[in-house]
């Protein structure tokens, strides 16, 4: 049995790489330093925000705006001055952090907040054959897992749930939940008004017969020359909440089984005097862009209050005006940022007005911000516990004590008396396309799907590659890189628009496509199977990947609300449980903990290959009648999986 002394031997000479200096990262760096680690490298591209300070205890108000990695280092050196901490204020996906770089380390410890970076690090750790300790928390829940190549499953052996998507028509025409209104306000309206004008945008509802609608609407959103800003705001308001709703209403078919929305016009909602009040309260020039606030200028104080339709309408007009008056230079290049107060106000107000129109309950700015910013709940205590557990696993890994590796779950309600529950790790999943060579199978209509669809929906969204190279045999069909000449780029772009079967080397049933990402040192073969027809609602991608499938579970809301008319493409949003750029330490996508019995997730009927589907398993709890269930643990395959010997 290991003693503390033996632990210290393992710790002393170790060189460790930490990825992430956020909620888990701060706790982890502190605990590593206290435990006696002497050579710690830490990568984090982020800078410090006010909302980090409630748990990222190495940071102070005065550090806001500075590099997390660097400030964390300085803070820890204050109480452990004689150790080496090397900070990198950089993105872990930068090419300088390549396999050679990873090979330098004895163990890699993740305290990340997004799936994309986690996958990237997992792949590099596999390529460099460096053990990885992975972690995540959300609220009171958390988990730590160990991934050692050849010994335990890799981070991606259990496919991660894909980001939640909503059918376009649900967002553009038939919202039934507040989140649909948020997506509309954020991804469509905000993007249209303040973002890149060249981006495709489904904002406008087309009446059945108006072929020229899109032409007209192009300039609807443009501020006309010399147009008064108040007037412009009211025109936009009337267009999107009034006119567009009326156009939608004209499509009778849509409303047969639905409540009809109510068109909103400023003249009905706002009385003249309240409009005049708009902006009259503006006092003192704001110093920087991000502190401009419509709330402040309208004298609304509590972001937790649910504001009335009138108040939301005033916020809408005021925030729109403030963008044009105070931040005009940014218009055209803005993307939604949850730390941008004015953007949050605009999106929250627009979502609420739309919600009111559709008879959906209104929400406070605080709640709307949480949904729009995909903010993950976070507290210091869980991060501290998880960081302690990471260090314990890291030490076992350094001692190569494979028998004692554990995945540990931090629970909110005890299961079998346990709040911290260790579970033996699984063996690598033989069908995992990341850590095994097993090819994947893609069912696709090769005559109707473009190479672009394959790249976007499979290579990027499902396989998580950022800089793919796509080949058939030795023929290059597509690649991404900095060193391509114009001819090649033109050639690849032309290929993107071709149907699979019309490519220079045609892709048809039986073709094996090789997909590779050099930065991730990851290659994957995809076997093509031609299929004519796909269900528009259940298979919105128009193609289905087998072999290593995404978990098909959408937790609470697994009914797509599409009306079946235009649901062929789905609008991807950042509103899933596992999402990129969630502000904090991830949501624990593989910890699924619920108080009551849960039904088995429904499988799309077209998914025939059930051997890879997840299932739920009960874990008996002898103290209470609760059941705790982990997606992660309860593969239908579990029986087949061998525990580590």
């Amino acid at each position: 049995m290991a003693s503390l002394l033996q632990y210290h031997d393992a710790i002393k000479g170790a060189k460790v790489l930490m990825v992430g200096a956020g909620g888990i990262g701060c706790e982890l760096l502190k605990t590593l330093a206290l435990s006696g680690f002497q050579d710690i490298h830490i990568i984090d591209m982020d800078t410090i925000e006010v909302s980090n300070l409630n748990r990222q205890f190495l940071f102070r108000q005065s550090h806001v705006g500075q590099s997390k990695a660097k400030v964390a280092r300085d803070a820890v050196l204050r109480f452990r001055p004689h150790i080496n901490i090397t900070p990198y204020h950089a993105n872990v996906k930068d090419s300088s952090f390549n396999v050679e770089f990873f090979k330098e380390y004895d163990v890699v410890l993740n305290g990340l907040d997004n799936l994309d970076a986690r996958r990237h690090v997992n792949r590099l750790c596999l390529a460099a054959e460096v053990p990885l300790v992975e972690s995540g928390t959300t609220g009171f829940l958390g988990q730590v897992t160990v991934h050692v190549k050849g010994k335990t499953e890799c981070y991606e052996c259990q496919p991660k749930p894909a980001p939640k998507t909503y059918p376009v028509c649900t967002i553009t025409s038939t919202p039934s939940k507040f989140v649909h209104c948020i997506v509309w306000a954020k991804d469509l309206l905000f993007a249209k008004l303040f973002g890149d004008k060249n981006q495709e945008n489904d904002l406008n509802v087309h009446a059945n017969d108006s072929a020229n609608a899109s032409e007209q609407t192009q300039d609807v959103f443009e501020r006309r020359k010399d147009e008064d800003i108040e007037q412009y705001g009211r025109r936009i308001y009337d267009h999107v909440f009034g006119y567009n709703i009326e156009v939608a209403l004209s499509n009778e078919e849509t409303w047969k089984n639905r409540n009809r929305p109510r068109p909103m016009y400023t003249r009905d909602i706002l009385h003249d005097n309240s409009i005049e009040q708009n902006g009259n309260v503006v006092k003192g020039g704001p110093t920087d862009g991000l502190s401009v606030s419509a709330m402040t200028s309208l004298g609304l104080k509590n972001p937790q209050d649910v504001w009335s339709l009138v108040e939301n309408s005033r916020i809408f007009l005021e925030s729109l005006k403030l963008f044009f008056v105070k931040r005009e230079k940014e218009i055209g290049s803005l993307t939604f940022d949850k730390d941008d107060q004015l953007a949050v106000e605009f999106v929250s107000a627009a979502a609420n007005i739309r919600a009111a129109s559709f008879g959906i309950p209104l929400h406070s700015l605080f709640e709307a911000k949480g949904i729009a910013g995909n903010i993950v709940h976070a507290v210091a205590t869980t991060n501290a516990v998880i960081a302690g557990l990471i260090v314990i696993e890291a030490i076992k890994v350094l001692r190569k004590d494979a028998e004692s590796y554990r995945m540990t779950y931090c629970l909110e309600h005890p299961s079998r008396k346990m709040l911290l529950m260790p579970v033996e790790p699984f063996e690598p999943n033989k069908s995992c396309c990341v850590c095994s060579d097993t090819p994947l199978t893609l069912e696709v209509n090769t005559q109707r799907s473009k190479l672009r669809d394959f790249v976007e929906k499979i290579v990027k969204a499902k396989l998580g590659m950022n800089s793919p190279i796509i080949m058939i045999g030795s023929v290059l069909l597509y690649e991404v890189g900095d060193d391509l000449d114009e001819g090649m780029i033109a050639n690849y772009n032309a290929n993107l628009e071709k149907m699979l079967c019309e490519l220079p080397t045609p892709v048809t049933g039986g073709t094996m496509i090789s997909v590779e990402d050099l930065r991730q040192e990851f290659t994957c073969n995809v076997y093509i199977k031609h299929r004519e027809v796909f269900d528009e609602e259940k298979e919105p991608d128009g193609m289905v990947l087998f072999g290593w499938t995404q978990a098909p579970i959408e937790k609470n809301d697994n009914k797509a609300n599409g009306n079946g008319e235009t649901a062929s493409n789905a609008l991807s949003t950042e509103l899933s449980e596992v999402q990129k750029d969630a502000e904090v330490e991830e949501i624990s996508e593989d910890t699924e903990i619920i108080g009551k019995k849960r039904k088995l997730p429904e499988m799309p009927s077209s998914v025939k290959d059930s051997s890879n589907q997840k299932d739920v398993q009960k874990i008996d709890d002898d103290d209470e009648d609760d059941l705790v269930m982990f997606d992660h643990l309860d593969d239908a395959n579990m029986v087949k999986k061998k525990r580590l010997q």
Binding site: V50, S51, P303, A378, T381, G388, C410
Partner: protein, 323 residues
């Protein structure tokens, strides 16, 4: 909760945690007063956690001077200060804790815990003691229990790869939220004295061995008049003797307390920082639950052992108090 709203500053700072426990719980936290004794590593972790969470005030008691041992798991003490000019452990920890959250009042109380009267304890909502002899724990717990208002009482200690938390919430009512149902629950806690007096033979066989092992060491330190934690591997023979006597007196077999476990606990008398982080985190969470009245509080012991990785709750109560 009466209506005082959170300030803008509080809403911004506490945004992520308000999303976990709600604005109401945050208001309760900001009005709560916490007393802590014994600046061990696990206590330093705990203090960090509740200062970040935003309690109203935190009062530290620990007159001991800084020793090398105190530094091993305590990140609140900066080494250049350790040659401190007469500053106590509590003083040094206060200086660091203040920086974590300017909205929390952190102060130091000088003196011996036992010398403080009931009116002193009455100022607090939560009392956490560490590094205390058995008798002191019992006495402080009794003082808290005599007060008209409920003062939540906790003990916490770490040794080697293990840690223990004891909780006494007396009569505790809370709301439990599962899915969309909210239910009112009530728990009745035994005092520390009552809990540790439960005859071992009456406890279920599967109760964590750590519970018994830590009682043996605690008893040994009491009988020998040692400072808490001042028992080492050299004392193994005497501790094993103590175990034998206790097991006989309790009429349980000696296998209740494995020798290997006792040996391990004596080998690593010092705290292990990752265990402090875990124990300090769980304790922080429990105190936040007790103050906010939200969530299942643990009853009444919690054990963590890094060796097997389990964090276990044990309910140590006398099933039949008449006996």
């Amino acid at each position: 909760m009466d209506g005082e709203e959170l300030t803008e500053q509080e809403t911004a700072l506490y945004d992520r945690q308000i999303r976990v426990w709600g604005a109401d719980a945050q208001r309760r936290l900001s009005k709560s007063h916490v007393l802590v004794h014994g600046m061990a590593g696990s206590v330093a972790e705990f203090c960090k956690n509740i200062v970040l969470a935003g309690v109203g005030s935190l009062t530290l008691v620990d007159d001991r001077p800084v020793t090398e041992g105190a530094l091993t798991a305590n990140f609140l003490i900066l080494p250049d200060e350790s040659v401190s000019n007469g500053k106590s452990l509590a003083d040094l920890c206060r200086d660091s804790l203040k920086e974590f959250n300017p909205m929390v009042r952190v102060s130091v109380e000088k003196g011996d815990l036992l010398s403080f009267g009931e009116e002193f304890y009455d100022k607090f909502d939560v009392v956490v003691v560490s590094c205390c002899p058995l008798a002191t724990k019992k006495l402080i717990n009794e003082k808290c229990r005599k007060l008209s208002k409920r003062v939540a009482f906790y003990t916490v200690d770490c040794r080697d790869l293990c840690g223990e938390i004891f909780v006494d919430l007396q009569k505790y009512k809370y709301t439990k939220k599962k899915l969309d149902e909210t239910t009112e629950c009530e728990l009745q806690y035994p005092s520390f004295q009552e809990a540790v007096s439960v005859p071992w033979s009456m406890l279920p066989r599967k109760v964590s061995k750590l519970y018994f092992a830590l009682r043996v060491i605690e008893k040994f330190e009491e009988v020998e008049g040692r400072n808490p934690g001042d028992t080492y591997i050299e004392d193994l023979a005497a501790v094993l003797q103590m175990k034998k006597e206790l097991c006989e007196a309790q009429s349980v077999s000696e296998s209740h307390v494995p020798n290997a476990l006792l040996e391990r606990l004596l080998m690593g008398a010092r705290e292990f920082p990752p265990v402090c982080a875990v124990i300090g985190g769980i304790l922080g969470q429990e105190v936040i639950k007790a103050i906010s009245g939200k969530g299942d509080p643990l009853k009444n012991f919690f054990f963590f052992d890094a060796m097997d990785g389990k964090g276990i709750i044990e309910d140590i109560v006398n099933p039949n108090p008449e006996k």
